[in-house]
């Protein structure tokens, strides 16, 4: 959907919630401190004022019970949106997610459906450390019955959230804290981005990067730099982790012959391994080099920024990988401005 209006990722989330709450009285938003002064980093602004504390409220610090509340409310006819300001906190409700919400439609022989949306925010930077920074989408996507999406663009932040709210299944939406400031074109009216489809956000003929969440930003920076050397990088924004659109990745790889999976997560047993396996199955004959996987350093996320910078892969990591795969000399990056989140994010949270 084309649009000329430019808004932020955060505003796009806010607008999706506002429009869906306006459209459907059954939609309510709740979670730890959603009604705090900043309203979950701004994503909930205006909702309390418009819809009242019945439909927008902070809860006791009881993630397990609050996730279950969403299940029961969904079964009894509501459309809950349960918010977690960090993915790490959502782990307290893992049993509800995996034992109750995900399998319930199947396990009830189809009698019960659970239209619950879970929003969880991935933290990064300014010392978030090992308990405020996880993404864990491959763990969530492992469980049949749960849909998992990771919007990268403001457009998809709105479209995927609306699709999630209208879906009759439990859907986990993983938002990235640093993407909250990203701006892009977003239609004013409500619309759905279909869950289960990847999206090519940049076309190119020489190499494919399949990326999740923030890694699309790094991939974009890398592609811009490589373009100057005449290398066309195609970026597939995976955006739906479960179901996973491996067809679009395969289509791109069949064209370029090279694939880097840049996953915003650890590589071990992760989505990058899943994609690599599927693409080997589908594209073995068109691959000109082994699939490369890029992810976090295999350690808990450190707090000090010096180590944190090493923990996360960057555009530079991608550029070096591209050079290696295509047999190119090292690009001189000294004059390049590679995006640094530290320029924008000043904390505290």
């Amino acid at each position: 959907m084309e649009s000329k209006r430019i808004i932020s990722y955060c505003k796009a989330i806010n607008e999706a919630l506002y429009q869906e709450m306006e459209r459907d009285e059954r939609v309510f938003v709740y979670g730890l401190d959603v009604a705090d002064k900043k309203r979950t980093f701004g994503s909930g602004l205006g909702l309390l004022e418009r819809f009242g504390s019945k439909r927008y409220f902070s809860t006791p610090l009881s993630e397990d019970a609050m996730m279950g509340l969403g299940g029961g409310a969904a079964v009894a006819g509501l459309r809950p949106v349960n918010v977690h300001i960090r993915v790490d906190f959502l782990l307290l409700a893992m049993s509800q997610l995996m034992n109750m919400l995900a399998p319930m439609h199947y396990g009830s022989g189809g009698k019960i459906s659970v239209p619950l949306v879970i929003r969880a925010i991935i933290g990064r930077g300014w010392g978030q450390g090992f308990q405020h920074s996880k993404a864990l989408h491959s763990i969530f996507a492992h469980i049949p019955g749960l849909k998992v999406v990771m919007p990268t663009t403001p457009h998809d932040a709105k479209g995927l959230l609306i699709a999630a709210i209208r879906d009759n299944n439990p859907v986990l939406v993983l938002e990235h804290r640093l993407l909250y400031w990203q701006e892009g074109p977003v239609p004013e009216e409500a619309f759905e981005t279909p869950i289960g489809l990847a999206n090519i956000i940049r076309h190119g003929n020489d190499i494919t990067i399949a990326a999740t969440s923030w890694m699309n930003v790094e991939a974009y920076a890398a592609a811009r730099i490589m373009e100057k050397r005449g290398i066309g990088v195609e970026i597939v924004d995976i955006r739906s982790i479960a179901p996973l659109d491996d067809d679009l990745i395969a289509e791109s790889v069949n064209k370029t012959g090279h694939l880097i999976v840049a996953d915003y997560d650890w590589t071990n047993c992760g989505l990058s391994a899943e994609i690599a396996a599927r693409i080997y199955e589908k594209c073995m004959s068109s691959l000109k080099s082994p699939i490369a996987r890029i992810g976090f350093a295999p350690v808990p996320c450190p707090t000090t920024w010096v180590l944190e910078d090493l923990f996360y892969p960057s555009a530079e990591t991608l550029i070096r990988t591209i050079e290696e795969k295509l047999g190119l000399d090292k690009t001189d990056l000294s004059g390049e401005e590679i995006f640094s989140y530290e320029n924008k994010f000043k904390g505290p949270f």
Binding site: F28, K54, T59, P60, S62, D64, A65, M66, M67, G68, L69, G70, G71, G72, A73, A74, V75, A76, G77, L78, P80, S95, Q96, N99, M100, M104, H105, Y106, G107, S108, G109, G110, K111, I112, S113, P115, P144, G145, K147, D167, N168, N169
Partner: protein, 319 residues
């Protein structure tokens, strides 16, 4: 008076007879699903469910044969589910541990301790949200009160003043570990008294008393606009899982036969009805139920298993 007792007897005798049929057939190994038997707790499900207003929603545990039968009164789908048949309540995907029948108000039962407590919370929240006059009841064992989610759910229900009836089926055992071995406090109800909640203690072997207690609890939920909690103690006759007694395991004393009868809700109610001169009515009820159960069991055995395609059906809504 005797109409009420006969209605209650019908409910709890159905549970007893259905489970007796399971015990008779169990060793043919055709019902391949872990059975957590309700024997001894029939009056709790029977009494509470009989007191529930029409349209109530119920949530339960893996030990929910009694709850399912009390809520639905039906045995065809029940037995078919035990046999894993396509005609079962969830086409064989649920088994004994996940019996549910939303069309009868039995929404969800679950085999991870405590997990349906917050669902009942959400269900009651939805009733209040939508201005629906509905009671949500949730059954759980004393083991669930060890879980954080019990306290989280109780706290939230009291905070939000939700129309929810908590029913603790307290058999004093979590598998083989007694409450004494698990609790850092003396009495659950003493603790819960400190919440903004109506709290009741009682014995779980007297269907009529439970019925009247549940009525009071439900009325108070409505008049006081706050949750109620019933803690009902009962004797678990059988092993945690399976159809046998567990006295040989040595973790609890083997009771004398007369003690067993004392705790037996079905025997006790039957004796009362006999004294009240209802022998004929009892025999008629028992005969009908025996015929119903036998017919359902045979029908279930003869029913087809799910087709192979059923494996991948229904992971997501609309598929």
């Amino acid at each position: 008076m005797s109409k009420l007792l006969l209605d209650l007897y019908k409910k709890i005798y159905l549970i007893r007879e259905a489970e007796d049929e399971i015990r008779r057939e169990y060793y043919n190994d055709e019902m391949k699903t872990p059975m957590h038997m309700s024997r001894g707790s029939e009056a709790i499900a029977g009494g509470v469910c009989h007191a529930l207003p029409k349209g109530s929603h119920a949530y339960g545990t893996y030990r929910s044969h009694a709850l399912y039968l009390a809520m639905t009164g039906e045995t065809d789908k029940f037995f078919a589910e035990m046999y894993g048949k396509a005609t079962g309540v969830a086409r064989g995907k649920a088994g004994s541990m996940h019996l549910a029948s939303p069309e009868h108000g039995l929404m969800v039962t679950s085999a991870v301790v405590g997990t349906t407590l917050p669902w009942a919370l959400g269900d009651a929240f939805a009733a209040k949200y939508q201005n629906i006059d509905r009671i949500t009841v949730v059954f759980f064992g004393d083991g669930a009160t060890d879980e954080g989610v019990f306290w989280e759910s109780l706290n939230a229900a009291c905070l939000m003043k939700l129309p929810i009836l908590f029913v603790c089926e307290d058999n004093g055992l979590a598998i083989q570990t007694s409450t004494k071995q698990r609790r850092g406090y003396d009495s659950l109800t003493n603790v819960v008294q400190n919440y903004i909640c109506n709290v009741f203690d009682g014995k779980g072997n007297d269907a009529e008393k439970i019925y009247s207690l549940a009525n009071t609890a439900v009325n108070l939920i409505r008049s006081e606009q706050q949750p109620s909690l019933l803690c009902l103690t009962y004797y678990r006759y059988l092993d945690h899982v399976g159809v046998n007694e567990d006295f040989v395991d040595g973790f609890r004393r083997t009771p004398e036969p007369h003690e067993l009868l004392l705790d037996d809700p079905v025997y006790q109610l039957r004796q009362r009805l006999l004294k009240a001169g209802c022998a004929n009515a009892i025999e008629e009820i028992e005969k009908q139920i025996r015929e119903q159960v036998l017919a359902s069991r045979i029908k279930a055995q003869e029913a087809p298993f799910p087709e192979k395609e059923e494996l991948t059906n229904g992971v997501f809504y609309g598929e």
